[in-house]
């Protein structure tokens, strides 16, 4: 250890030229990407970016603070409806409507966090699940929210920039995602993030070291809900139209799956998890178009599962992949990454 070590090394973002190189490469890739691929893949990237934001927020709750939520579709819905309504009905600009509705989601997160203090494990799962289901029911019944008919999302206008293509939206999304992920990383590296992790690892010790666990547990819920709210607010413009049926329990479960498959309690885990699961979800919809495999799966589905329904085969493949990942690497894809890194470090010895 050199004597003149600066402690900023421990917390800074770019720790070495190698990291800087990879970050620069990633940046170039992100900029070039929408110009070299077709419109569909830009749409896919947008979809993934939104899920990354939500998964990163949920990871703060599940991976770092050791709580759980099966109700994140509820916060997602609040963000989506909030942003659209604030823009369409209150005339707020997008850049104001988005954070405002995410703050409303954070407020609900805080409120849900209060009873969550007394609940753990399965009880907390059910409480949050109830929240998610209730939110969509309430939204579906309120006239202002368009009821069952849903709402159309207006065009996004930022200053004189009108966003009406997927590619334009892509750049906005990439920017927001990078800001939120870096913010999350900074949070985890500093005092509040340490308090979160401390509560997860040993809550008694955390308390006796001066960490107010009531405050930090509810704060984790609020921040997590804020991220979900931002994600929801952005999602409204991917779909251009929102209705209560979109924000299902399945959606909440998928958010959780992204965190777990990617590797909870790591920064890149939810990014990779969201990327993989979204991609699989979209790809597997067309699984029957793949030569040979598609035919085989269709035959399999017809003979074993249902005569008409080949649609279920996509979920069976999807589920099998998730089971396989969890079986072989309980730490998720992040665990695979750790092992690969270790392998290459000692290579070729």
């Amino acid at each position: 250890m050199d004597m003149k070590r600066t402690y900023y090394e421990d917390v800074q973002l770019v720790t070495s030229p190698v990291v800087l190189f990879w970050l620069a490469l990633l940046f170039v890739f992100l900029v070039v990407f929408p110009f070299v691929v077709g419109n569909y893949y830009v749409y896919v990237a947008n979809y993934i970016a939104i899920n990354i934001i939500v998964a990163a927020g949920l990871n703060l709750l599940v991976g770092y603070t050791g709580q759980i939520s099966l109700g994140h579709a509820g916060f997602f819905a609040i963000g989506a409806y909030g942003t659209v309504i604030l823009m369409a009905k209150a005339g707020l600009p997008f850049l104001l409507a988005l954070p405002c509705s995410a703050l409303v989601a954070a407020g609900f997160g805080f409120l849900l966090g209060l009873p969550a203090l007394r609940l753990e494990g399965p009880y907390l799962s059910i409480a949050t699940l109830g929240f998610g289901l209730t939110i969509t029911q309430i939204i579906g019944r309120i006239e202002l929210f368009g009821g069952r008919e849903g709402l159309h999302a207006p065009d996004i206008v930022i200053g004189s920039w009108i966003i009406n293509t997927d590619r334009q939206f892509y750049f906005l999304l990439v920017f927001i995602t990078i800001v939120l992920l870096t913010g999350m990383r900074n949070l985890i590296r500093t005092r509040v993030g340490r308090a979160f992790i401390a509560i997860r690892d040993a809550d008694i010790a955390a308390q006796t070291m001066g960490v107010n666990i009531v405050f930090y547990k509810t704060l984790a819920f609020a921040v997590s809900a804020f991220y979900a709210g931002i994600g929801g607010g952005l999602y409204a413009f991917v779909l251009k139209f929102i209705e209560p049926e979109i924000f299902t329990l399945m959606m909440s479960i998928m958010f959780l799956a992204m965190v777990v498959v990617g590797g909870q309690g790591s920064l890149m885990g939810p990014v990779v998890g969201a990327g993989l699961l979204c991609w699989l979800d979209l790809k597997l919809r067309n699984i029957l178009d793949i030569p040979f495999l598609g035919d085989w799966l269709e035959a399999l589905s017809r003979s074993w599962f249902s005569i008409t329904g080949v649609s279920n085969i996509q979920y069976i493949v999807f589920g099998s992949i998730m089971v396989a990942i969890m079986l072989f690497e309980p730490l998720g894809l992040y665990g695979v990454w750790l092992r690969t890194k270790r392998y290459w470090r000692t290579w070729p010895f």
């Binding site: 250890m1 600066t6 402690y7 900023y8 421990d10 917390v11 800074q12 870096t182 913010g183 999350m184 900074n186 949070l187 590296r189 500093t190 005092r191 509040v192 993030g193 340490r194 308090a195 992790i197 401390a198 690892d201 040993a202 008694i204 010790a205 955390a206 308390q207 006796t208 070291m209 001066g210 960490v211 107010n212 666990i213 704060l219 921040v223 309690g265």
Partner: protein, 267 residues
């Protein structure tokens, strides 16, 4: 009269039918090493849990620096300057040594949600604060000779090292009162010697008042200013190490008749 430091009065707590503590009273003076001895299940850890706010006593009061703390929450008591270690190690197993000890700085730091997320460069508030407090932690790491394990996740470290990291984390809080629950348990003779040395240093150089639970009688008699013996949740005797050793009940209940030779060797 000296200002009041820690005063425990008529403390009682029971769990179901078990009276874990009954009518325990004592007071500590600033700067002393005060030990609590007693056989397993006597209620020593329960006493610590009451003082650090994890348990709420059924009866009695605890005053720390003129503040009633028996109804306060653990984090509020920590902010008053009470830190502790645990009999069964309670470290943040996925954090490395440095981060574990940094958590001990929690009450001295100010970075919150927004300033934390906004650590976008070396000159931001959060970065400056991190650097400042990491320097302080490094001093503790040097003091307890933990440099070797500085960046290693603590879950993977040997038991004795983990005990030391717990001590380091407690010291990082800069406590006025330090509660040590069997700090030498499971350590070999050499590690114990180091620990005694450090505890003495913490008292002398850092001016920390220490409440100690320890089974090793020689260790207790060597470093304590006063000793409280309890058994079945009740106070047996309180006095200087010499006085406590002479007590019949202590000999019988705690040390056991068969250990007579051991005692005279110590005495």
């Amino acid at each position: 009269m000296k200002p009041e430091f820690l005063t425990v009065s008529n403390l009682s707590i029971s769990f179901g039918g078990i009276k874990a503590l009954q009518d325990i009273s004592f007071s500590m003076e600033k700067g002393e090493i005060f030990s609590v001895i007693g056989p397993n299940g006597a209620g020593k850890t329960t006493l610590f849990n009451c003082i650090s706010g994890l348990y709420k006593p059924d009866e009695g009061s605890i005053r720390f620096k003129e503040t009633a703390v028996e109804k306060k929450k653990p984090d509020a008591i920590a902010r008053l300057g009470v830190a502790r270690t645990f009999q069964n190690i309670e470290l943040f197993s996925h954090m490395n040594t440095m981060e574990n000890i940094m958590l001990g700085r929690h009450i001295h730091m100010k970075t919150g949600l927004f300033r934390g997320m906004g650590m976008w460069g070396k000159s931001t508030f959060a970065a400056k604060e991190e650097i400042l407090h990491r320097e302080k932690v490094e001093q503790i790491i040097d003091f307890l000779e933990l440099q070797q394990v500085r960046d290693i996740p603590v879950g993977a470290l040997p038991y004795g090292t983990q005990k030391l990291i717990e001590l380091a984390r407690a010291l990082a809080l800069e406590p006025d009162l330090l509660l040590l629950d069997e700090p030498c348990a499971g350590m070999n003779q050499e590690e114990k010697q180091d620990m005694i040395f450090w505890i003495k240093d913490i008292q002398d150089d850092l001016g920390v008042t220490i409440l100690l639970i320890e089974h090793d009688m020689k260790l207790v008699m060597d470093i304590s200013d006063r000793v409280l013996a309890i058994n079945f949740g009740k106070s047996v005797t309180l006095g200087t190490p010499g006085e406590v050793q002479q007590n019949k009940e202590v000999r019988k209940a705690y040390i056991g008749e068969e250990d007579q030779d051991g005692i005279s060797a110590v005495g």
